[in-house]
């Protein structure tokens, strides 16, 4: 698993009539299909709405999702940081939010020693970040793909972030149970062919079993 336990939030404009997910039935919600916003959006909305009332629409990159929400083109958008912080700074409302896991995807020819060395470096970086998260927020704020777009909304400062939302843990392996649960969820939503076998999807052969979450 990757070290970032990221968060995706369903956000609505400041003047939106929506204050919780249950009123978003048949309302367009902007996501990026086959990515975190898509999967977390479904996981959050299915707790409030019948499947047939969930209306996710592919809008691609975060800026397009965010701005389609802000200008009222869609009722809501699912975004991650630093777009959540920007939305909250602008008065947008988070109607639901969920953290989720992701993967480090390595090529088949990456050897165990190299992968272990990479993980040690990442683990040390995780420790640095968790010791002082605010110190590293400039990476998010100054990222060109965000900063240019955010500038027209006044940009962000480190004080605009809710630090507990940013969660980083030491890389760890996917358990069989996690893989099976995710496989079953994906096939139930038709997002993965049930002809695929869960054992074919994750190969933990070169991850370090000793690594554990903080």
């Amino acid at each position: 698993m990757r070290s970032a336990v990221a968060s995706q939030a369903i956000m609505v404009p400041p003047d939106s009539p929506h204050n919780y997910p249950g009123t978003l039935g048949n309302q367009p919600v902007a996501v990026n299909f086959h990515a975190g916003s898509h999967y977390v959006g479904l996981r959050l909305l299915e707790g409030y709405l019948p499947v047939e009332k969930i209306k996710l629409v592919h809008y691609g990159s975060p800026i397009h999702r965010f701005e389609s929400m802000l200008n009222g083109e869609v009722a809501a958008a699912v975004v991650m940081e630093p777009w959540i912080a920007l939305g909250e700074k602008l008065g947008c409302k988070t109607v639901a939010e969920g953290h989720y896991l992701g993967a480090e995807n390595a090529s088949e020819d990456m050897d165990e020693e190299t992968f272990a060395a990479i993980n040690r470096a990442v683990e040390n970086a995780v420790d640095l970040i968790n010791a002082d998260k605010r110190k590293y927020l400039h990476y998010l704020i100054d990222d060109p793909s965000f900063a240019q777009a955010a500038a027209k909304y006044g940009g962000l400062t480190p004080e605009d972030f809710h630090l507990p939302r940013l969660r980083y843990t030491r890389p760890a392996v996917y358990t069989d149970e996690m893989v099976e649960d995710t496989y079953n969820w994906l096939t139930r939503w038709g997002l993965l062919s049930d002809l695929a076998c869960s054992a074919d999807l994750v190969d933990n052969r070169i991850a370090e079993p000793a690594s554990a979450d903080d």
Binding site: K55, S61, A106, I129
Partner: protein, 72 residues
């Protein structure tokens, strides 16, 4: 030093990697880490059908073998 090329997409997902590189943590482990930015998508055709969208998204460099690791 072992050369490794990694894709970087959303910064929030790769923050430890950026911090590791800037603080010499990869170098200390004998890794010469190079980052390649994921392809940024512009405006897309809106659809409600996930099957209309290629699930590879911007991770083209990995699919083409130009990078050996990415996170998603």
């Amino acid at each position: 030093m072992k050369k490794v090329v990694s894709e970087i997409s959303g910064v929030v997902f790769s923050l430890p990697w950026l911090v590791a590189k800037d603080n010499g943590l990869f170098e200390a482990e004998g890794i010469d880490m190079e980052f390649v930015k994921a392809i940024r998508t512009g405006p897309v055709e809106h659809t409600e059908n996930p099957e209309d969208v290629n699930p590879i998204l911007g991770h083209v460099a990995f699919e083409q073998g130009q990078v050996s690791i990415y996170r998603a």
